[in-house]
């Protein structure tokens, strides 16, 4: 059957046997997806391509186009579900972009940018599957697999080698290599195989290739996977009479001050900014406490000890809009790398075993803050209104959202200012 379907109000043709996804991409209409690939039979597992077809939500990659179908795809409802699916894939695996070789070339990451995913919102899973570095040219980091089956299909259908399969069930799933040893080196895969190039994330990656291109020149740095415009969450009202300067407070919890440094990279624009804002508590002016009526609080860093919690609660109590700035505040970031190390080991490493310590002992002074068992993102401790991603976020991103707020607009990050690394 051939005919026409209507997607987001646009009528497009389809050919006999085509799915909604195929018809849409044929007509240049982008439906977000991760596990679909035009060269292979549809898998239907990632569910990002879920559309409302004749009123019912179904995967568009496995649904046949039928004449007269009415399809909704680029709606806020569906996009927010897609955003949630991306968040789920991020927390399920170890997708810590700032330390990932594949960052900038990753389809999942680019999709998340375009879907306006600024924070993870769900707790991170820690899995710890085995890494396979046996192959001379390729490396497998199993904790990044999103089970899209693209390598499975590519190896079987394009390369004729049938090298990959997926094992386990539920949360215990894992990518497996179909060799007796279970190792990639014995599989006969080469860097030129379709299967070695199809992985949308940093699970199957090439050795000696990571970080070879500078930020700005990687595949998805400026060119998104697709062009749908997604709305950001809206902020609380500032209730501000015209002309009043906004009070901005900032602080760094468990962070490296890199976000603050990046903020200062707005350079001479800071002069322009101070015409509209005044700084309250901030390392920039060394004021140590928040005044009670701040408009915006910018928090860098994760929550690692009880002092961080007090500071954070003080900010929440005193700032109308609280913004989590950078990877550490948003997901724990670099400090969270300690999360699977026992607290005693941490303390001993710092106070007992470290080089050049005079009086090696764990301090027991009651005045000192306690360190938390894990470093947490700030939204697990207080309500956060907006997330500014990046490690650090670029100066232009600070500029963009602050000027947006100053001018009374809802802040909106364009694609090229969304970055996780």
């Amino acid at each position: 059957m051939t005919g026409r379907i209507r997607i987001d109000g646009q009528s497009i043709p389809f050919a006999d046997g085509q799915t909604v996804m195929q018809a849409a991409s044929g007509a240049g209409v982008f439906i977000p997806h991760l596990c679909y690939h035009p060269d292979y039979a549809a898998n239907g597992s990632c569910k990002l391509c879920t559309c409302k077809i004749d009123g019912k939500q179904v995967s568009s990659c496995t649904t046949r186009a039928v004449d007269g179908q009415v399809i909704e795809s680029n709606t806020e409802e569906l996009n927010s579900e897609r955003r949630a699916l991306s968040q789920m894939l991020f927390v399920e695996g170890s997708h810590h972009c700032p330390s990932c070789e594949h960052s900038g070339n990753c389809v999942l990451q680019s999709m998340a940018y375009k879907l306006g995913m600024t924070a993870l919102m769900f707790p991170d899973f820690t899995a710890g599957r085995e890494t396979d570095a046996s192959h001379p040219d390729l490396l497998i980091n199993r904790d990044r697999c999103i089970y899209c089956h693209l390598c499975v299909r590519a190896s079987r259908d394009s390369d004729g080698k049938d090298i990959f399969s997926i094992t386990g069930r539920s949360e215990n799933k894992s990518l497996a290599i179909n060799t007796d040893s279970g190792l990639l080196k014995d599989s006969g895969i080469t860097v030129d195989d379709a299967a070695a190039n199809v992985c949308p994330v940093g699970c199957i990656i090439k050795k000696r290739d990571g970080f070879s291109k500078p930020i700005g020149q990687r595949i998805y740095d400026n060119r998104p996977v697709h062009y749908n415009k997604i709305k950001q969450p809206s902020l609380p009202d500032l209730d501000r009479e015209p002309g009043r300067k906004l009070r901005v407070a900032t602080c760094s919890l468990a962070g490296c001050f890199g976000c603050h440094m990046s903020f200062l990279d707005i350079d001479e624009r800071i002069v322009e900014l101070t015409e509209h804002v005044e700084f309250d508590r901030s390392p920039i002016n060394d004021i140590k406490t928040c005044s009670t009526q701040c408009d915006i609080g910018l928090i860098e860093g994760g929550v690692c000890n009880t002092e961080n919690i007090e500071t954070l609660r003080e900010f929440r109590d005193n700032c109308r809009i609280l913004i989590a700035v950078g990877a550490c505040a948003i997901s724990g970031g670099v400090p969270a790398l300690r999360n699977n190390v026992d607290v005693r080991e941490l303390l001993e490493e710092s106070y007992v075993n470290a080089v050049g310590i005079d009086n090696p002992q764990i301090p027991t002074d009651a005045e000192l803050p306690h360190i938390l068992e894990e470093v947490s993102p700030i939204h697990e401790v207080v309500k956060v209104d907006f997330f500014l991603p990046g490690c650090p976020p670029p100066a232009d991103a600070f500029w963009q959202i602050l000027t947006d707020i100053v001018e009374g607009r809802q802040p909106d990050l364009p694609y090229d200012l969304m970055q996780f690394d």
């Binding site: 549809a42 239907g44 597992s45 990632c46 569910k47 990002l48 879920t50 939500q57 995967s59 496995t62 579900e81 949630a84 699916l85 789920m88 894939l89 927390v91 399920e92 919102m121 769900f122 707790p123 899973f125 999103i146 089970y147 049938d162 399969s165 997926i166 094992t167 386990g168 069930r169 539920s170 949360e171 215990n172 799933k173 497996a176 290599i177 179909n178 060799t179 007796d180 279970g182 009880t306 919690i309 026992d342 607290v343 005693r344 303390l347 002992q361 764990i362 301090p363 027991t364 306690h370 360190i371 938390l372 068992e373 894990e374 947490s376 939204h379 697990e380 401790v381 207080v382 309500k383």
Partner: protein, 588 residues
């Protein structure tokens, strides 16, 4: 020793004619015989069946009862279903562990025993249920547990354990047309052959029979679609996976009504033109297998199965039992077919449905045990078989368990209100009923006028009663864990969503939940309901949220902070630091 094990694999390969579709059967047998599937076994199977090793590993890791690490020589699983909990399964499991000095889920140092938990074993009305080396034992109590510990310690072979432990009776409490029906051997088949396929379909349609496995699809339609396909080879599959917690009516039918079932399947085969059938029997019902196999043989011996059935030339049909290996989602018909084909039980993309593209891509009727049994009754007695005084034709076998005086099987006419069911089984002080299993509907006492029917409370049979002493949040948490454990992991919303739901449900149950968590769960539920690939993921978040809606108190009682604030447990987060600091201070 090695030689013995090696010959076991080769025996299995020979038994199943080296057909890779039966690899699951071979693996299951090896597991039951050796308590492990060894690397050597996998190697032999991989070579002989021309299957990559990783695919065999993939199967073993998918099914709960298959293992690549050694289990104890006595492999004990306590049912972790809510009804078993209510009857003390956790206490018994812990007691057994204590007596044997083992940890839950870990084999003992000497390799003698492993004690672990498993999803519902289907002994709900006579729990706590337990499986030992694949065989079911019911009604575990302190005395049984203590005796079991001694038997295991004395290394007593299972054959010498008290015989009465292995006798699983069925409590048939209220009989309707099906439970009263005693088939005259071959009569249903004779009539099916006499009235011909069109006549059979007509009778089924008139009777109003719909699928009893949950979805309620009209049975005559399913048979008709299969029959009218233009493919020559067709299959009939009986879904005896009965994995829904709280359901055990198929167990009773497979046990006491096997002849009826086989006639129903055969009538279906004659109608749709199939010559081969399978009974997909869940692993937990191993204790029913031998008897069922005998019945199949008797049907063959009396020409009710096999070639030229009842002397009718060209009417051929035979049935084979296929054992599951521990996976609830394999009850979903397309996952079941994947499993039958020797694969991981992952639901297929539908459409096409099994009835046009089923086993090995051929048209396949998949029906529930009960559906086939009713079909046999209708064919023997005519389309009025399901009639009763009420206005909705049809009957339903309910598996009633939980807090009531007389748990067991009740055959009730469709349209019966919950209130009447509760009265019939002697339930008092009932707080709520879970109808249709964890994925079904939680009915609170305010709604006991609702009735069992396709239009209102649809159920495959599960009917779990909770009296006022039960904490409904605990029930919901148990169901949430069940779904996470059983998710096949194919699609994102269910694989990740069920795990997140567990985290949040546990958080609330532990007293650290906040309004934010509830909102997060509601958002997740919407996504899981709308985007999951199969019924499991679509229903997995429902129990916890329905409980929140209908039993808000049981939630808020445990939410330390009901305000709109994230609940961060500072005390817990610094407990370790506090402990270290005080240890240090003391040591100085």
């Amino acid at each position: 020793m090695v030689a013995v094990a090696d010959s076991l694999v080769h025996d299995q390969l020979a038994k199943y004619r080296r057909d890779p579709a039966f690899v699951l059967q071979m693996l299951r047998h090896l597991q039951l015989e050796q308590n492990i599937i060894t690397s050597g076994d996998i190697h032999v199977l991989s070579e002989s069946l021309n299957l990559p090793r990783a695919k065999i590993n993939g199967l073993i890791d998918f099914y709960s009862f298959l293992h690549r690490r050694p289990r104890g020589r006595y492999d004990v699983y306590f049912s972790d279903s809510i009804t078993d909990h209510m009857l003390g399964s956790r206490e018994q499991a812990n007691l057994l562990c204590e007596l044997l000095g083992v940890e839950l889920g870990q084999p003992s140092a000497n390799g003698a025993v492993t004690v672990s938990l498993t999803s519902c074993t289907g002994l709900c009305e006579r729990g706590p249920g337990v499986l030992v080396n694949g065989t079911a034992i019911d009604r575990m109590d302190d005395a049984r547990t203590r005796e079991m510990a001694s038997l295991i310690e004395a290394n007593t072979p299972l054959e010498d354990w008290p015989l009465e432990w292995f006798v699983i009776n069925d409590a048939l409490r209220k009989k309707g047309p099906l439970l009263r029906y005693e088939p005259t051997r071959g009569k249903a088949l004779e009539r099916a052959i006499a009235i011909g396929p069109e006549g059979v379909l007509k009778d089924l349609e008139t009777s109003g029979l719909r699928g009893c496995g949950g979805a309620g699809f009209p049975t005559w339609r399913k048979w008709q679609i299969c029959r009218s396909s233009n493919r020559r080879q067709r299959y009939v599959v009986c879904n005896a996976d009965e994995g829904e917690p709280g359901t055990f009516k198929d167990r009773a039918l497979l046990h006491g009504y096997a002849d009826t079932l086989l006639e129903g399947m055969t009538a279906c085969a004659i109608t749709v033109g199939a010559s081969k059938g399978f009974i997909y029997l869940r692993h937990e019902y191993e204790f029913l297998r031998e008897r069922l196999q005998h019945r199949i043989q008797r049907h063959r011996d009396t020409n009710l199965l096999g070639r030229n059935i009842l002397g009718h030339h060209g009417i051929n049909f035979d049935v084979e039992i296929f054992m599951g290996a521990g996976s609830y989602v394999c009850g979903e018909e397309s996952a079941l077919i994947e499993s039958l084909e020797g694969k991981r039980g992952i639901p297929r993309v539908r459409p096409p449905f099994p009835v046009t593209h089923g086993y090995k891509g051929k048209p396949t009727v998949v029906n529930n045990v009960e559906t086939f049994c009713y079909a046999a009754g209708i064919l023997e007695h005519g389309p009025d078989f399901l009639a009763h005084a009420g206005d909705q034709p049809g009957w339903k076998l309910l598996s009633i368990c939980g807090d009531c005086k007389s748990p067991g099987i009740y055959e009730i006419p469709l349209g019966t209100p919950i209130r009447d069911v509760l009265e019939a089984c002697g339930a008092h002080g009932t707080q709520a009923v879970q109808v249709g299993g964890p994925g079904g509907t939680l009915v609170s006492s305010a709604e006991f006028d609702r009735h069992i029917s396709y239009a209102d409370l649809n159920t495959a049979g599960s009917f779990i009663i909770f009296d006022e002493s039960r904490d409904m949040l605990d029930v919901a948490v148990n169901f949430t864990h069940f779904f996470a454990h059983e998710s096949c992991g194919f699609c994102t919303p269910c694989r990740v969503g069920t795990k997140l739901m567990v985290q949040m449900a546990d958080k609330v149950a532990d007293g650290h939940g906040a309004r934010l968590d509830i909102e997060q769960m509601q958002r997740l539920n919407k996504l899981m309901t709308q985007a999951s690939h199969c019924g499991l993921g679509q229903r997995a978040a429902v129990p916890i949220l329905t409980t929140y809606e209908k039993f808000t108190d049981s939630f808020e009682r445990r939410m330390e902070d009901v305000e709109y604030k994230p609940a961060f447990d500072v005390e817990a987060a610094i407990e370790r630091s506090r402990q270290i600091v005080s240890e240090e201070a003391l040591s100085r």
